[in-house]
């Protein structure tokens, strides 16, 4: 149907009517579990993958034990409710963080769906490594029932293909931020189909200072390292990368803690890891000055431009869109969790926390009914994938429930 469309995987795969009409595998089918765990084994033992921690983390996440844990937690038998796959799931992968769609694709496979994935044409080294491995696995005859139900394709921006695939899916998964969501949404999906959308997000680190103060030396180092990991992977440009730090506690202690904390970041942040370019640094200066024009802020003098800090005087007028990543941190002090409420819009995704009890968080949520925030995770886990993402539980979204009453 389109000369620019090419099938990446499986080799010999074709986009035909037959592809859409195949029978569905069952929810949590054994073949998919085995396929994913085999993929995990090969990633974890291949030396080629070792230089890429995000791929190793992915391989670790795919371990059989972990997959079963996810299934047990989310898809437990519940009497008269039986889960079935949705049918055909059309995934649109983002072009930048090019491995995140793998998680949602595998979960959809695990739920028994037929999957068609549109890959970004500008794939990086990581995704190509993964595709090579997938290709070898899908060739094996024991996985032929999986292979026939997956199609990974690329095509140039072409509305005909997007329109065709949208019209033939039961669920559409749109990664890639606001612009992609807005573009793809223009193409209708069947009346009964559903969209899962992943628009631009903004994430936060929350640090309770009294707890930080009481940590021993090693624990402080560990926490700061975890924060650095959260903040500097993907150049602080992933939707889960913390861009604002909320300091929770009494103001005197906050000032002391900030000094200690940032001195440790300066100490522990490795230049090669941070990967901050001159262009990033200029961007940060433009952002800082733009922010100064738009609202009341203080630009804090830092040791160097790997880390740049901005003190906000108010959360309400902050323009989250201005943030350019590359090690730029907004900071704001709060006395209690409820103080962040005026700022919490649907755009807020992850809050990586330290020094706050799980109970306090739950209480905050039930008491204030925040209009945003998709997840609270301990600092250090901001970029870890979870089957619950941006407010969706993938295992539910990739299935439908049949109610059988006696």
């Amino acid at each position: 149907m389109n000369r620019k469309l090419s099938v990446v995987l499986p080799s010999g795969g074709q986009l035909t009517e037959y592809f859409f009409s195949q029978s569905l595998l069952s929810v949590a089918n054994d073949l998919s579990i085995e396929f994913i765990s085999q993929l995990s084994k090969e990633i974890l033992r291949s030396p080629e993958f070792r230089p890429y921690p995000e791929l190793m983390a992915m391989g670790f996440w795919m371990r059989k034990h972990h997959i079963e844990e996810i299934l047990n937690k989310h898809i437990s038998e519940s009497g008269d409710k039986i889960r079935l796959p949705r049918g055909v799931v059309f995934h649109i992968a983002p072009s930048n963080v090019d491995t995140i769609f793998v998680y949602s694709w595998l979960l959809s496979m695990l739920m028994g769906n037929i999957n068609i994935v549109r890959l970004s044409s500008k794939g990086g080294i990581q995704i190509n490594l993964l595709l090579k491995l997938l290709n070898n696995l899908l060739k094996k005859s024991k996985y032929k029932d999986i292979a026939s139900r997956q199609l990974l394709i690329t095509y140039e921006r072409d509305s005909k293909v997007t329109s065709y695939l949208s019209a033939h899916c039961d669920t559409r998964v749109i990664w890639g931020g606001d612009d992609t969501v807005n573009t793809i949404r223009k193409f209708p999906i069947p009346p009964a189909a559903t969209d899962l959308v992943f628009p631009d997000k903004f994430s936060i680190s929350l640090i309770g200072v009294s707890k930080f103060e009481n940590l021993d030396e090693n624990s402080k180092i560990k926490l700061v390292k975890s924060f650095i990991n959260d903040a500097f992977w993907f150049g602080q440009m992933a939707c889960s990368s913390p861009r604002l730090i909320l300091w929770l506690g009494n103001s005197e202690l906050i000032e002391e803690t900030k000094k200690d904390f940032w001195a440790r970041v300066d100490d522990l942040l490795d230049v090669d890891f941070a990967k901050i370019s001159t262009a990033d640094i200029v961007n940060k200066l433009v952002t800082s000055h733009s922010l100064a024009i738009n609202s009341n802020i203080n630009i804090i003098k830092t040791k160097n431009n790997l880390v740049n800090r901005i003190n906000l005087y108010s959360l309400e007028k902050m323009d989250t869109n201005l943030h350019c990543g590359g090690g730029l941190f907004y900071e704001f002090s709060i006395e209690q969790l409820g103080d962040m409420i005026p700022f919490v819009s649907r755009k807020i995704q992850t809050i990586g926390y330290f020094g706050v009890m799980e109970e306090e968080i739950k209480q905050f949520i039930t008491e204030h009914t925040p209009k945003g925030i998709d997840r609270f995770v301990p600092i250090g886990e901001a970029l870890d994938f979870s089957p619950i993402w941006d407010g969706y539980n993938f295992l539910y979204e990739f299935t439908r429930t049949v109610d059988v009453k006696s």
Partner: protein
């Protein structure tokens, strides 16, 4: 502004005679005063200075203490220190259609200072007599006199130093050979001032001559050109190659590139016979290490900060550019000009695209 009188005095003096240390003594108090004045008169600039809690406005002990703003800010905001009625000219940068353009607002004083500054510099290179001028462009670039592109502003600014200004190209960017022929015939034995934008000189003058297999002979010509090397770098043409082609195709031996920007019109940095760009007495450059904004030693690459005492109507007296450069030396260029001299090494490479959102990939 109070500083104008002092600036006028400065502009009346020879532009390259003061040693760096003496020049700094004169321009530091002017730039300090301008920082204060602009932060009072331009609310946006005032908020930036206020947000940079680290400096107090009174203790600038060296040029390097004067705060800077990124030049890109002029693309995002209207930064102006005078009322709308006082604006006599608006300059815009010549970005491509997809890019935002800078907008620079000039009042009468600033426009006059720019003209005088440019005159002081150009006379140093061209002599006091106005030479017949050949412009490597077409006449329509300066059609709209109320709003100028950088290209138009550059041409108009330099036209003051020539006479009988003649445009070499037609609107299809082709050489009008009738014009060329009669111009060269008319000024056979006189020095000629030729001006154009670097890429256009290459593409529409030198390459066109090349295609027609034509050489011309203007041994007394002085070619002044500007506008950046990016397009020529893409086709691997450096200043040396450029000069060699100019000499081969036209016989011109005197070629002066200059570095300047629409955000600081008038303060241009012209190349001497040794190939170095020179800072005149009313403006200066500082090379900064991007990693911590520290001042780079001579010979060390960094981002170029440009300082100029000319901008009175907008806060453009201290700007961080996105160009990389090195200071080659101070006060000791064999061409005889005092002050810092430097080279520009190109623009900062674009940042790698990362993140969850595709919107950054455009």
């Amino acid at each position: 502004m109070m500083v104008i009188g002092s600036i006028e005095d400065l502009l009346a003096s020879p532009p390259y005679r003061l040693k760096q240390i003496d020049k700094e003594k004169i321009i530091l108090p002017l730039l300090a005063k301008m920082t204060q004045q602009h932060s009072e008169d331009c609310p946006e600039y005032g908020k930036i200075i206020q947000a940079e809690v680290n400096h107090s406005l009174s203790d600038y002990e060296a040029l390097t203490d004067i705060p800077f703003i990124p030049v890109r800010l002029f693309k995002e905001y209207k930064l102006v220190s005078v009322s709308d009625e006082e604006i006599v000219k608006t300059l815009t940068s010549s970005g491509t259609t997809s890019q935002k353009v800078s907008q620079i607002f000039l009042d009468k004083d600033t426009a006059r200072l720019q003209t005088k500054a440019l005159a002081a510099i150009m006379k140093n290179y061209l002599g006091n007599k106005r030479l017949p001028m050949l412009i490597i462009d077409h006449p329509n670039v300066i059609k709209d006199r109320a709003s100028f592109s950088a290209r138009g502003a550059g041409i108009l600014g330099l036209m003051n130093f020539g006479r009988d200004a003649t445009y070499l190209l037609n609107e299809s960017m082709e050489i009008d050979f009738n014009i060329l022929d009669s111009f060269l015939r008319k000024y056979q034995d006189t020095p000629i001032f030729i001006f154009g934008f670097t890429f256009m000189v290459w593409q529409y003058f030198l390459e066109s001559l090349n295609k027609c297999n034509l050489n011309i002979d203007i041994p007394k010509g002085v070619l002044v050109h500007s506008g950046g090397w990016k397009k020529l770098q893409d086709i691997a043409v450096d200043n040396k190659t450029f000069k060699r082609h100019v000499s081969d195709k036209t016989g011109i031996k005197s070629v002066h590139n200059f570095y300047g920007m629409v955000e600081q019109v008038g303060s241009i940095y012209v190349e001497c016979k040794n190939g170095y760009l020179h800072t005149p007495v009313f403006s200066d450059i500082i090379i900064r290490n991007p990693i911590d904004w520290s001042v780079s030693s001579n010979g060390e690459i960094g981002l170029i900060q440009v300082l100029s005492v000319l901008p009175q109507s907008y806060p453009g007296h201290s700007l961080l550019t996105e160009d990389l450069g090195i200071i080659v030396g101070v006060d000791d260029c064999t061409c005889g000009r005092k002050g810092k001299y430097f080279s520009v090494l190109g623009r900062v490479p674009r940042a790698e695209v990362r993140g969850c959102s595709d919107t950054h990939s455009k």
